[in-house]
Amino acid sequence: MIHNLPPGLIMVLGALLLPFLGQRLSAWGALVLSSLSLVAFWTTPDLHAVTLNLFGQDLNIVRIDRWSWIFGLVFHLAAITASIYALHVKDTKQHVAGMIYAGSAIAACCAGDLITLFVCWELTAVSSVFLIWANGTETAYRSGMRYLIIQVTSGVLLLSGAIIHYQQTGSLVFENFLGLEPGQRGAIGDLEFGPLLILIAFGIKGAFPLLHNWLQDSYPNGTATGTVFLSAFTTKLAIYSLARGFAGLEELIWIGCAMTLFPIVFAVIENDLRRVLAYSLNNQLGFMVVGIGIGTELALNGTAAHAFCHIIYKSLLFMSMGAVLHRVGTTKATELGGLHKSMPLTTVFCMIGGGAIAGFPLLSGFVSKSMIISAAGHEQMFTVWIILLIASAGVMEHSGIKIPFFAFFAHDSGKRVKEAPWNMLTAMAIASFCCIAIGVYYQPLYDMLPFETHYEPYTAAHVIMQFQLLLFAALAFVFLMKANLYPAEIRSTNLDTDWVYRRLLPRLIAHIGKFVRLIDSMFRVACLAMIKKFLNWLSKSCSAQGWLGSTWSTSSMAFWAAVLLGVFLILYYL
């Protein structure tokens, strides 16, 4: 029975009961809900599908296959760790929002048709914004508003695309829009208009270049615990959807390459460490998008594996920064440093997360990222391969070194705080354990991947090369620090594409408004002058001396009457 309902529904509906538990218990309620949902999901039979007939339309509300299984599973794990992490939070609405958000993301990745996907897609947007607003500041409110508008726009595009697609093909089934099998590739030109809109919708949520900035704008404004939720679901749902709908779309390779590159440069100069993590998240999505674009079994496996590992280590990194925010009150690099003395455990967990994302052997990032890079190699895509290597060195820079270094080491800020609360430490310990466990014993993960694989990440040459890349990147950091060439942290705002809609457009609109007002006022003045002239003339004419107002002689009246009669006579004969 329970398996005929969309997975995650337990969390969505259960969340509505959380307010009745009171502030203290609602956090535990959230943990119970996500655990129950995991049990229900775990016991769902393989290749399970449920169809619901609604308004004469068959909706495939549950579709469990290997793709939805791996994403559904990791979404559950993320929801559980994030719930543990948020156990100390007494704000019930955050727990409600978190559960609805996670539940709808899980339901979305188990949706077999575009309408179910759309409903869940919008639900993730609407519920998650409360995790930003919960921060309570004006900045967070505005940022959340921008986030909501952009996310809802993505949903509207998805719905429009789905409707157009339905009109063209008569099908709402969510599958590869190019009809490609793994290993085949297609171009964007082959897409109809409907799927193109859907691609843009996915691209917005997946933070494609130029559509990306909602991510760096909103995530650093979430609450310490809310951002941990945020980091796990929205973007990875987009990755899942891209893999399902557009695997093998060649342009995605280049979009992905751009995504791996530009955020690393922004990350170097960003002061807010949670924003650095948001850029880093963007860069990691790039690896996955490249994998989707390559579209071979190895590449798609790499994407799924990388999404799985990424959700865990990225949560871990956001958790460590959340702990810093919770204790110190800021995550600005300029205000931090030397925290390893007062938060030693958080430091260790953060470094495990940093090591995992950088791809150190024996940690999770290594066994997943390697698949995507190898897939590019196997396809003989030299440029892509080089770009991914540069991006790997970049990851080492912003997440492997910058995050732990500036938060916990660097110059001692003199701040002495308490270690993170026990529940935060527990959640971070679980995530760290997963990072190590997957890195060492990766076979269970590989067995879950969408396609069967015999990939072997731990070849001697591969391990040696990875160590060379990362160690020498670290050496470069030491060199730059010693030579005083590493850019100092500065309290600043760095412009990104959000400048367009936060500065340029408002200013442009203001200028256009000014121009319109100017034209308008000139027009009014001219009109008023004309009317005034006319009235003057009229009053003059109608006055006792005016030609209309003065008395006329009888003869002229008789003359004009005769003229009028004459004209009438002529017209009558005509």
Partner: protein, 134 residues
């Protein structure tokens, strides 16, 4: 390894300096040794690498095509056993991978390039902290 990298950036700060802060140079030395170690490791593995490359590529290629029949996998497993460590080597997809220290130089150069690009980017996009609030 990771611990060494990140700790290598500790800095002295008087009074209650931690062990790391007092021993930055030790940590940096550790990193340098690890770097040299990774180069030496490549030297040690290099001859086997070249010898094995052809065969390994063949095996890997069969994975990529998604041929999962048991026999080929078994052969692979057998292969690994008979050639011991040699077959664990990663097949080079591009000639440049075989250049000694390629990834080391690449990692160093890419890191420096990214940081310099970032410094340059600051000239264009950096504004006051309250830029959007003003």
């Amino acid at each position: 390894m990771k611990t060494e990298d990140d700790n290598s950036k500790g800095d002295d700060s008087g009074g209650d300096a931690s062990w790391l802060e007092r021993n930055v140079n030790v940590v940096i030395a550790g990193l340098v040794i690890a770097c040299i170690g990774s180069l030496v490791a490549q030297l040690l593995w290099a001859p086997l690498f070249a010898e094995k490359q052809g065969e390994a590529s063949h095996v890997e290629a069969s994975h990529d095509n998604g041929s999962h029949d048991e026999t080929s996998h078994d052969e692979h497993a057998h292969d690994e056993v008979s050639h011991d460590g040699a077959s664990h080597l990663h097949p080079a997809e591009f000639a440049v991978e075989e250049v000694f220290g390629f990834e080391a130089m690449f990692g160093f150069a890419a890191f420096v390039a990214v940081v310099f690009l970032g410094t340059g980017l600051r000239l264009i996009i950096m504004r006051d902290e309250d830029y959007y609030d003003s």
